[in-house]
């Protein structure tokens, strides 16, 4: 834990006399923005670059926001699990619980003009980019109120106005697409960057190396983020990659290995990466993370991993528990206050689900909308074209 490495300006907090501690129990939950410096769990491991410092600047308000955001994501994914088992969510459902620190830490270091693109494990990434619980649950259940109006499903969430470009079902395709977003940012002379997220399974895709080569040649402001949860579906990293040091796989492209369960380390790495790519072209971040669920809802996740491994990570490295300990250890809130936040979140999630269930299924005419932006009056057909046809506007 980070407490033993506190900088001297804050170390006296732990040694405060009981009386002062007692009075702090009565004060409201801290919303202070006074800087707090906390050390990451482990140092960063660099590849062809100078790593950023382990000391991360944060503040009580930010830490509490981290707690709330990650707890919301956790609760949301667990609720999605239940909805799937109740057959309200169909098809594919890939859950992110355990990996929350990656998208939350990333958001803390960037703005909405920076772009994020990811694969199909996108519910929490979408939430982090400003999506709402209602839009998420509605989309998962295929309703009109969904972020893709029920036409996309779990793997196809988008929020273009806040720089979230999906939501992609084909493993690895999102990496060249992300490099294309970065190309556009450079073409437009924005001072913004793109984060293209992919898993350890996708890290072996040829198109990734093709796009990385072009990005390095053209100095594109692209950050490749390998969310290494150590399993590509049921295949462990050592069975899929000759070199599972994904942060080094860029060869001539610098890289950094990050503890992806430590939200502050993620924040620091992303901040470092953004500054780096705006000056020097691409970089690879490898987030050492873990998913508690299986690959998807049809995978129990325990045929290729031991239950001990899963519970071990939950006990030792859970990202929410880490922040809880930091918050309690620095007296930024009490245990009860944090539990109250979690109760509030549970209620919010339940309400969003109830409201989402009220959203209707799409109108049948929606079958034929959005095929084109401009259809020029061409016709499209249903299964029996003499029965069902439509003119595309």
């Amino acid at each position: 834990m980070a407490l033993s490495h506190l900088s001297s300006t804050r170390s006296n907090r732990l040694l405060r006399p009981l009386a002062a501690a007692a009075s702090s129990l009565c004060r409201p939950i801290s919303t202070s923005t006074e800087p707090l410096v906390i050390e990451t769990s482990i140092p960063f491991t660099p590849h062809k670059c100078e790593p950023p410092s382990r000391s991360v600047e944060t503040n009580p308000q930010e830490l509490l926001t981290f707690f709330r955001d990650m707890a919301t994501m956790r609760r949301m994914e667990i609720a999605a699990d239940s909805l799937y088992k109740a057959k309200l969510i169909r098809g594919f459902c890939h859950l992110y619980d355990g990996q929350e620190a990656v998208c939350v830490g990333m958001e803390a270091s960037i703005n909405k003009k920076d772009c994020i693109i990811t694969a199909y494990r996108d519910h929490c990434t979408f939430l982090g980019r400003g999506g709402t619980l209602l839009e998420i649950f509605s989309e998962l259940m295929g309703r009109q109120g969904g972020c893709s109006k029920g036409k996309g499903g779990s793997m196809h969430f988008y929020k273009k106005e806040s720089g979230f470009y999906g939501g992609h079902g084909i493993v690895g395709a999102q990496v060249p697409l992300g490099c294309g977003l970065a190309f556009a940012q450079k073409y437009n002379k924005d001072e913004n960057v793109t984060f293209a997220l992919y898993g350890d399974g996708a890290a072996n895709q040829g198109q990734l190396f093709e796009a990385l080569n072009i990005s390095a040649l053209w100095d594109l402001p692209i950050i490749l983020v390998c969310e290494n949860n150590h399993y590509g579906m049921g295949t462990a990293e050592w069975r899929a990659a000759k070199s599972p040091s994904y942060y080094k796989r860029g060869d001539y492209v610098p890289g950094l290995k990050v503890d992806g369960m430590d939200v502050l380390a993620v924040k620091q790495a992303c901040k470092f990466a953004k500054e780096h790519v705006l000056k020097n072209g691409p970089i690879i971040l490898e987030m050492d993370t873990y998913r508690y669920h299986g690959h998807s809802m049809s995978d129990p996740g325990s045929t290729y991993r031991t239950r001990d491994e899963i519970s071990g990570v939950r006990q030792e490295r859970d990202p929410i528990e880490r922040v809880r300990k930091l918050v309690l250890g620095h007296d930024l809130a009490t245990e009860k206050e944090l539990k109250d936040i979690e109760k509030e979140i549970r209620k919010e999630v339940d309400e969003a689900i109830a409201k989402a269930k009220e959203s209707p299924m799409p109108e049948p005419s929606e079958l034929f909308t959005n095929v084109y932006v401009k259809g020029f009056g061409t016709e499209s057909f249903g299964a029996d074209r003499k029965e069902l046809r439509a003119t595309l506007p």
């Binding site: 772009c115 079902g169 697409l177 294309g180 072009i214 959005n370 932006v373 020029f376």
Partner: protein, 372 residues
């Protein structure tokens, strides 16, 4: 038969016209107040891309050898010098990578023109064309539109063998969300390219290497920088009343030659230049067949599940009672493209194949005559 005498006379008079190569018969018979300007398909494409890049700074060009080499087929000649390396980008030989980058740039709002040196290489990138480009507007319920053009030579060239000769029209045209265009003349090339670049949806633009050097007359209207042709509309290249012949790209020229030959035998063929494979102009095709009652479809690509198959189905569904004969399909041979010149000739439709099929629809084929 009375027709033979008349045809002999007719043949003499029209021999000059039939030797005029690919110029459409209708245009050749018009008189212009001033000499019509001629333009090669290559120059038509180059000028169209140039004008659209000039008009819209979001348009950029990406592909192998498009810049310093001036284009593998010189279609993009001069564009690097004019627009600079930020807008004309030479890529490594990595189709999956650069096509994905192009689609991503289109997601963000730029208007890429991605060149495939030939569409045979598009197979390396087809996932991005179909799954990343064609389907995105639908999956995102309109949030992510993809204003991109994928262009390059398609179909058979001359002697380039099996891996470099396939026609991809039917593969791409089967996919909802894509638009697929195939120009024939320089007017088509200019008008359809401009329409494709301006279009907010992903467009697959199928050119033909052997047409690049062909010249066609172009009017002042076609040369104007605001010119464009509508997507989804076929053109009746030659009016007729006895049989409809549909074709696209190079085969339009062959169909027109076939129509000339047929006219001397008293068969008046209507030649339709599809221009747009998707959306397919079913109305023009069906209206024509309702007039002529006979149909021959012509394409260069493999026959099974091809463009002709779709046209045949459309006409059977919508104009069955109007057909006086079975629909005929002329297509490339159902084999990988051979190299030897004589085998290659057998693998690609020839004018005489189109003539023979048209005659069959008119119950005029020689084998039938022999049994009569």
């Amino acid at each position: 038969m009375w027709g033979i005498v008349g045809q002999r006379v007719f043949r003499h008079g029209s021999s000059a016209m039939s030797l005029q190569g690919t110029r459409p018969a209708i245009l050749a018979s018009r008189s212009f107040s001033s000499a019509a300007k001629e333009m090669t398909v290559r120059d038509a494409l180059n000028s169209a891309i140039d004008e659209e890049m000039s008009a819209d700074p979001k348009v950029f060009l990406m592909g192998e050898e498009v810049g310093e080499y001036q284009g593998a087929y010189k279609i993009t000649k001069g564009l690097l010098e004019k627009y600079g390396p930020d807008r004309v980008l030479d890529t490594p030989i990595t189709e999956a990578g650069f096509t994905g980058i192009g689609v991503g740039a289109a997601y963000h709002g730029l208007k890429p023109i991605i060149e495939f040196m030939t569409f045979n290489f598009s197979m390396q990138a087809i996932d991005h064309i179909i799954n990343s480009a064609a389907k995105s507007n639908y999956m995102s319920a309109g949030q992510i539109s993809v204003p991109i053009v994928f262009r390059g030579p398609n179909g058979a060239a001359a002697g380039v063998g099996a891996q470099h000769s396939q026609c991809y029209a039917s593969w791409f045209a089967s996919c909802p969300g894509l638009k697929v265009l195939a120009p024939y003349s320089s007017e088509d090339a200019r008008g359809l390219m401009k329409a494709a670049i301006r279009d907010p949806d992903p467009v697959v633009f199928l050119e033909n290497e052997l047409l690049y050097g062909e010249s066609f007359p172009v009017s002042a209207e076609v040369l104007d920088s605001s010119f464009s042709l509508p997507i989804g509309k076929a053109k009746i290249e030659r009016e007729g009343k006895d049989v409809t012949i549909t074709a696209f790209s190079k085969m339009v020229g062959y169909a027109l030659k076939a129509a000339e030959i047929l006219s001397k035998e008293g068969i008046s063929a209507e030649v339709i230049n599809l221009r747009s494979i998707r959306p397919l102009d079913r109305a023009t095709i069906n209206n024509s067949v309702r007039k002529t009652n006979r149909l021959v479809t012509v394409e260069e690509g493999f026959p099974q599940h091809g463009i002709g198959a779709e046209i045949c189905a459309s006409v059977v569904e919508d104009s069955f009672e109007y057909l006086d004969a079975a629909i005929e399909r002329i297509a490339g041979a159902d084999v990988p493209m051979p190299y030897a010149a004589n085998l290659e000739r057998l693998a690609v439709p020839q004018v005489e194949d189109i003539v023979r099929a048209a005659k069959r629809t008119c119950y005029r084929s020689s084998s039938l005559a022999a049994t009569a």
